[in-house]
């Protein structure tokens, strides 16, 4: 009977046997008592190798998807094969979607997300840090933040239309509010998580409150601020669909919604792929920025 994982004896550590291995050398071991331990050098593949494996995994997925469509494993209406999506993409690259070039829709959506995200960072980071620093402010803000944060933003649409109308402001506001709440919580936690020893160090060197903030608290919180900003981009990007439910006639989120009313699953899939790729690129941009600003993050 086949086992769910590969078990081999490890000749370097006969008391261990290996349950998983990435390539050649084992990287996770299970000992006789059932505890897991990691091989210190084999927890990651090389950079190039990891990229190659990821690429192969995507290629294999597309291949299976295409084959599944060809052999009629699933209805092309429910899951259009990649060839059809490719054909649609080419059609839309030349003709656009609903009289507008495809890239225009991408740009409009990106503009909405950035237009919400940048103010969210400008307001959220200082306010979140202040919440972390002043317990009173935190106590004032917390009930609202915690109430609104898990609330599905779709539920706000009728109110947002009543308050802000059906223009760009409504769409941007929906994204702004989701991004802002994420940043507030992250930044407040970042300050709260300041290492006590670092604060003591600052005090011992004679730092004033203001200096502590500038020299110790803020730089120390930067990695977590970045993490919350990164999360906020993700949240903002997911709120895009809800935002573009509000009287939109452009944008990828709207394109997905509109195409779904006409059963254009091919356009829906194309839109989802575009949403995913754009979101991925936004995330990569922030990660790159993070490497420049806080190169020391995660390095002891």
């Amino acid at each position: 009977m086949p086992m769910p994982y590969i078990v081999i004896r490890n000749r370097y550590f006969p008391q261990f046997f290996t349950v998983l291995y990435a390539h050649r050398k084992p990287f996770i071991r299970i000992d006789g008592k059932g505890g897991l331990s990691m091989h210190p050098e084999k927890t990651s593949l090389g950079k190039g190798r990891a990229a190659a494996v990821s690429l192969a995994s995507v290629a294999l997925f597309v291949l299976l998807w295409s084959a599944g469509g060809r052999f009629g494993l699933f209805s092309p209406l429910l899951l259009p094969p990649p060839e059809e999506i490719w054909a649609t993409a080419r059609e839309m690259l030349t003709d656009g979607y609903r009289q507008l070039p495809l890239l225009h829709h991408v740009a409009v959506s990106l503009g909405r997300v950035l237009g919400a995200f940048i103010p969210a960072v400008l307001v959220g980071v200082p306010l979140g840090l202040a919440m972390g620093l002043f317990p009173v402010l935190r106590a004032i803000m917390d009930p609202f933040v915690q109430f609104f944060r898990p609330l599905p933003k779709l539920a706000l649409i009728p109110l947002v239309i009543l308050w802000l109308g059906i223009g760009e402001v409504s769409k941007v506001f929906l994204i702004f509010i989701s991004a802002l709440l994420t940043i507030l919580v992250g930044c407040a936690a970042a300050v709260g998580g300041t290492d006590q020893n670092r604060l003591r160090l600052g005090r011992a060197l004679g730092a004033t409150n203001r200096q502590l903030l500038r020299y110790i608290v803020f730089p120390g919180a930067l990695p977590e601020i970045f993490t919350s900003v990164r999360l906020a981009v993700g949240v903002g990007w997911t709120t895009l669909i809800a935002a573009e439910m509000v009287a939109a006639d452009t944008g990828i989120g709207w394109m997905v919604l509109n195409a779904s009313s006409y059963m254009r699953t091919d356009i829906v899939m194309l839109g989802i792929i575009l949403l995913g790729l754009t979101g991925y690129m936004l995330d990569m941009f922030i990660v790159a920025l993070q490497r420049v600003v806080v190169p020391w993050d995660g390095k002891a």
């Binding site: 020893n197 670092r198 011992a204 060197l205 004679g206 390095k299």
Partner: protein, 268 residues
């Protein structure tokens, strides 16, 4: 004693007077008494090592001197003044180097003068001196994460010492280092102190380290910690470790100290 006094006369004296300190218990539980009835007078310029069983409140004593904690009862005074909080007159070296990862070695070392608003040239001159003393030349622009544990602790030492405070408080600073690095750091510490002079209160659990470094060893009782025994060491300076361990008094004292530290547990 050939150590020159750092700072004005008397500014390096630390006095603990019937100090007690307890931590509030979690979830409304009973408070934990860490230190009780602890009295000690540390003269300016002396090197005192605090030894004791784990959890006896050694670090609490140090934190009280640093001003990170306030005593529940009794008083702590430094240079004749009651301690109201941390201050630049007492340099602190922590268990881990506690370097700020977003500043390079030079920027870490100059943090104190920078906070105090000292002139840039003066600061850089002082930094150059301590970088030389700690053997960090060539590493000024390195990030902390690019250094070994010993190098990081050298930088931490330079940072605490650059303003030449009359008092240096050290909480097991070499505990995480390997034996050889530890020894060279101990030698470095004694060397710099020889040059600059300062009162040092040094917490350790390593008896050999205390014997090698201290003028006086203070042994504490188990929690709540108070003073069990004080031993003034008879070894002249400068000391060499290789020579010291051949001294019969070293072995004898080590035996007595270990006995004093471990005995209380056996009594229970």
């Amino acid at each position: 004693m050939t150590v020159p006094a750092a700072g004005p006369a008397g500014s390096g004296r630390i006095v603990f007077d019937k100090v007690a300190h307890s931590f509030p218990g979690g979830n409304g539980g009973n408070a934990t008494e860490a230190v009780a009835d602890f009295s000690l007078d540390i003269e300016q310029g002396s090197f005192v090592c605090l030894l004791g069983p784990s959890g006896c409140g050694k670090s609490t004593i140090l934190n009280l001197a640093a001003g990170f904690e306030r005593p529940t009862r009794g008083s702590v005074s430094v240079g004749g003044r009651s301690v109201a909080g941390p201050g630049p007159d007492r340099g602190v070296v922590f268990q881990d180097a506690n370097l700020l990862p977003w500043r390079n070695v030079l920027e870490n070392i100059t943090l104190g003068p920078e906070l105090a608003g000292r002139p840039r040239e003066e600061t850089l001159a002082a930094a150059r001196r301590f970088i030389k003393l700690t053997g960090l030349e060539g590493f000024e622009r390195h990030a902390p994460y690019e250094l070994s544990g010993g190098m990081r602790q050298r930088a931490a030492l330079a940072r605490a010492w650059i303003t030449e405070p009359p008092i240096l408080l050290m909480d097991e600073p070499f505990g995480a280092l390997d034996a050889q690095t530890r020894l060279s750091m101990q030698e470095l510490l004694m060397f710099i102190r020889q040059v600059t002079g300062a009162t040092v209160l040094f917490v350790t659990h390593d008896v050999d380290e205390a014997l090698f470094l201290a003028d006086e060893i203070v042994i504490m009782t188990p929690r709540p910690g108070s003073i069990r025994q004080k031993i003034v060491l008879p070894f002249p300076r400068p000391r060499a470790y290789e020579q010291l361990i051949l001294n019969p008094a070293f072995t004898e004292l080590k035996h007595d100290i270990l006995y004093a530290i471990r005995r209380p547990e056996y009594d229970i």
